[in-house]
Symmetry: C2
Subunit: 431 residues, 2 copies
């Protein structure tokens, strides 16, 4: 073992850990000794110096809890504040809950915290009675039970999903307080299902078939039009999420999944796919889910979600307790493939440093970025800026408004600014 060789210390053999370690050395982090500088009490520090173990806590003195029955595990009671957030203002029928991004780590969103958006509530579907019909301009209409569908060849893919209405309040003012409030309508999971192309080939799409209508089995009969190119390229009929069957609020027992497209096109509780020649101009793609532009025209079918990022640690509502070393960490995503780079600024965009991306960087998946930072105790403005593999770079708020105006709610992807006050408080600002 060569402990003096930094390469030997790199976790997983990639460049990330050694890069961090070089920063730590450069910044004299090692000699500053986070741990030693923050020993909780003098008595504990004396224990440590004397090489004694910490006091034996109460929970080591008696046998712990046995197994849960029913044996499906739950989070610690100490994490009871980490939940999807209902709207602050009571509503007759709230339609979305948000993921607590500021409390999460890595890239996978646990199913219990995956954001929700319903248009008619969550139907209670018996999977044995559910059917998926494929009809319209096809040679062989299909009516598939879940048993039928699940016999087909399957794939698993890690993808994010984002509501196109995510971050919408930011068009007007810094309305939300936390990353959850503002950007919590994005989450990420490992999805398993059948490539839609296989099912469409089984049905035999007629040459004049160019668009699909996808319909959900909820009370809203949620419907969207999908171009056949997308359906044949990477669309999935998904029945499992993060290893287990879909949760009810995510479309149990089967949903459409269109990687990188605005969330509500990935129709939940999917019951019907009809092949036609043209878009179907449904309710949710005419007045809603279209973008009113500055000249008064409406953009329709703005399917792809553009590159976006947000720093989650530290973020709005949190407080830096100490000067010195902090790790800035956040998530980036794009509907156009892979994230190529994330730059981070601590001075409101005057200067930027490139963050480390957690590999493997997957296409149309949340990508975790991290950057070491020494906070000197002065006010700072933290920003992150994502660039994707097409070369597209996330715009500033003024750049976005210059093109889009402020008439529409959807597809807000401007750079987020978090202000760190001298006291350490972090707040949402437009900078």
């Amino acid at each position: 073992m060569a402990r003096s060789d930094p390469q030997n210390h790199a976790a997983g053999g990639d460049v990330e850990a050694s890069g961090r370690r070089q920063f730590l050395k450069r910044s004299a982090f090692a000699s500053a000794a986070i741990g030693a500088a923050t020993l909780p009490t003098a008595a504990n520090a004396a224990d440590a110096a004397a090489n004694l173990p910490p006091n034996v806590p109460e929970w080591m003195k008696a046998q712990g809890a046995g197994f849960l029955n029913p044996p499906y595990g739950q989070p610690s009671p100490f994490e009871k504040g980490v939940v999807r957030k209902l709207p602050d203002a009571p509503a007759a029928f709230p339609s979305a809950t948000r993921t607590p991004l500021q409390n999460l780590f890595g890239t996978i969103t646990p199913n219990g915290l995956f954001f929700e958006r319903h248009h008619g509530g969550v139907p209670a579907i018996n999977p044995d009675a559910h059917r998926l019909m494929v009809h319209g301009l096809v040679d062989r209409p299909l009516l598939l039970s879940m048993n039928d569908l699940m016999r087909y060849p399957s794939v698993s893919r890690v993808h994010y999903l984002e509501c196109s209405g995510n971050s919408a309040a930011e068009w007007f003012r810094p309305a939300g307080k936390t990353a959850q409030d503002i950007h919590g309508l994005v989450s990420c999971a490992e999805w398993t299902g059948v490539p839609l192309s296989i099912i469409l080939d089984e049905a035999g799409v007629k040459p004049e078939g160019k668009w699909l209508l996808a319909e959900g089995a909820d009370a809203a009969a949620m419907t969207r039009s999908v171009p056949l190119d997308k359906a044949m390229n990477d669309a999935l009929l998904v029945y499992a999420q993060n290893g287990e069957m879909l949760r009810p609020e995510q479309g149990y027992p089967v949903r459409l999944f269109l990687p990188g497209f605005e969330g509500n096109m990935s129709i939940k509780w999917l019951r019907r796919i009809k092949v036609g020649t043209a878009p179907f101009h449904t309710r949710e793609e005419t007045s809603k889910y279209s973008d009113l532009m500055p000249d008064g025209s409406a953009r329709q079918f703005t399917f792809v979600m553009d590159a976006k990022s947000v720093i989650t640690t530290p973020s709005g509502g949190q407080k830096l307790l100490q000067q010195g070393f902090h790790e800035i960490s956040g998530i980036a995503w794009t509907g156009s493939g892979r994230i190529r780079a994330v730059d981070v600024s601590v001075d409101g965009g005057r200067t930027w440093r490139e963050a480390t991306l957690q590999g493997p960087v997957q296409s149309m998946a949340l990508t975790r970025f991290r950057l070491p930072w020494r906070w000197n105790g002065e006010p700072a403005i933290l920003q992150s800026r994502a660039t994707d593999e097409t070369g597209y770079t996330q715009p500033t708020r003024s750049q976005l408004i210059a093109v889009r105006g402020q008439n529409s709610l959807y597809h807000y992807n401007a750079i987020q600014s978090w202000r760190v006050a001298a006291g350490g408080e972090v707040t949402n600002v437009h900078a």
Copy 2:
């Protein structure tokens, strides 16, 4: 769009989907039309042929359920059978529950279904009161609160974890019925935490320091010895699993994680790391977690878990309802890096075909494999055989016993055989 070009249909642009499609064409799967052949009823088939949608189900006729409060989501009631399994035989204090591998998809195990193994029950730890001490042969002993620890640079890694006692009953007879019964002490998650090397550098390991003692804050004071090489290479101090803080039964608020090593070395509820010159010979690495060999000697410190795989669909306790197309699917893993290949046999090992691996294949992570198969209705013996990047290939049961004898419980990794009867029933056999 060129719909007649198979390359255009490949999901995600990789070779997997197109490879599958070629199989489907070769095997006349497309003309056999799974869907059309299995239409649930003649009436439904007539509807489909007439291009009518399926009947409108009851759950579309009324608004669905609102949001859960507290808003932490749960599985569908129709999935209530998909749970961790307690032992069949009642025990005064059962010590393990098993993951329902046969009901899972992809590679991520949801936290609620991640296998459990406790030696003194699950302690109820207040994270604010928890401390991690680093002491022994170090220059600067540390006593870290969770706030201290979580300020350090972090990484996220997808890794499996397997109890070295997994599949132990198979040493003697085909005892278990399902993949869960037999092999359910393996699971996989995205872990986030601090590389242990950073903390050890902060403490400053003295030149004579070669081994660590890791101790848990449970009533068993679970302790294991860890070689310093491993600690400096890829060991993590993990606080998050699949995006959220660790569950109580997985070591909340912090555990050691040693990728590829036998599970109980990844000490849960970690409270103490002591650096010493030699192994500490704790209770759980002398009489337990050692391997009695045919010559009467005991192997100690058999840390690395060798390559292994199991077919999960179809698997023991399931039944094939129809002849024709089935997708064989399962999981493979190795403590020695990446899985290089998985071969599948349907004739008890006489002939083998190479399965498709779901990418990205990650080091020391579960790897999903899949192979298309047409069942002709005759009895069959299904087997999978993993090979890892070192060239090591999973042994047959007789090969394993020839080396290891049948005196010890740990590190069983032989090829699993599932017998498919003419009636479609799948059972656990030694073949």
